[in-house]
Symmetry: none
Subunit: 229 residues, 2 copies
Amino acid sequence: MTRILVVEDDPNLGQILSEYLQLKGFVTTLCTDGEKGFEKFKTEKYDFCILDVMMPKKDGFTLAKEIREIDKTIPVIFLTAKSMKEDTIEGLKIGADDYLTKPFSMEELILRVQAILRRSGAKSDQSNTINRFELGGLTFHYDRSLLERPSGDVKLTSRENELLKMLCDHMNQTMERNAALNAIWKDDSYFNARSMDVYIAKLRKYLKEEEQVHILTVHGQGFKLVKVE
Amino acid sequence: MTRILVVEDDPNLGQILSEYLQLKGFVTTLCTDGEKGFEKFKTEKYDFCILDVMMPKKDGFTLAKEIREIDKTIPVIFLTAKSMKEDTIEGLKIGADDYLTKPFSMEELILRVQAILRRSGAKSDQSNTINRFELGGLTFHYDRSLLERPSGDVKLTSRENELLKMLCDHMNQTMERNAALNAIWKDDSYFNARSMDVYIAKLRKYLKEEEQVHILTVHGQGFKLVKVE
DNA sequence: AACGGTTTTTAACCAGTTTTAACACCCCTA
DNA sequence: TAGGGGTGTTAAAACTGGTTAAAAACCGTT
């Protein structure tokens, strides 16, 4: 799971950006100015920042500088309206990982984010991710692809494992179909969608014995892993 | 020391490039087509790639794709005659770190190389590979091709040794099939893939007595050496 | 060059995983 | 309440990997 902090003062663009990233399987937080962005960054854990350069109250460069004081290695992409030389230089000094000049295509943004994540290696995906989930009387170990149950453990296949992980990451929230498909199947085609339905059925079978936990469908949207305390 | 692989089909440009980089303190290898470039990459260790996009036999994108299967994090700069949009997208998909459109100044190239190296951190010094891995109650000595076990040590053959090393280097992450095949077998053909499966089975047999450690398969992707603490 | 032991590849068959397909059912809306 | 799209379920098909053993390649020694 990759959590992205999006700070963009244009609410429309910010919304579109945020939703598109979620569709592609990322978890995002949107802030509309630099100060709010910094508050968010201090209270929650993020793996990636996408920052507008020109913003009221606190500009993107200043924000990046402050963020980098807390986390020196977090990847940062700047969004900038102009492609001026001094902007580029300034950004590089702070340690920007990439630049996008408005207007840009969503596809290009996604590709750049993925390129940077690939380069920065698995260290972020690794240490940040939760590996153990308590599901009532069951325990799910993502790293071991194992679901521990009183009635006997289940070795999960990789698809089962990824899907259950994603449901757990969205515990008590709706996990959108397209987000899961893009994150796990890398493509939200019709057949992959049906494939996912098959896996949901399998997971339901595994979880059946634990009454406190079940996967419910949100018609037309996705699935929700519900845990009753 | 930073070793740069330069693949450029124009011998004049390639020569100038190569010499200029050497002047700046880099160690370079020049290849004049994609196939030769890939051969070089497989047999020697590099820290950086500068690839021409349009080349005979094997273009820069294809080459980069193959290189990235072996080393996912190695920085790549493309040299391209045109600055077309689809080229950019295609390059980003593969994970380009930067672009230079011909003609470019040598100075600009150097600056971009340095910027990327600064960004990707001081991990260029990989000449010191780890030789000893603790696998629960077992100890794997790569340099001695030896797996120490309570029940008796195992002398590993070179394929066993390389494969176990690669799994250990990717501890708790997925080691991709193609990456291993290209790195160890130097070729990801069908039969080599099957050969690898045979070796995975052998390693599993050696590791069987240690419950904390096992190789699990990530269907369609590769294998993951998991260590439970 | 021929031998014997070791390592690696090839082959065949089997087992497990994932996708596709088909059909039934449900939910929403016109 | 009829219709269409979304979902549940099951089973077969397609694909990928596990296992074993024999064949081939390799290597040092004679």
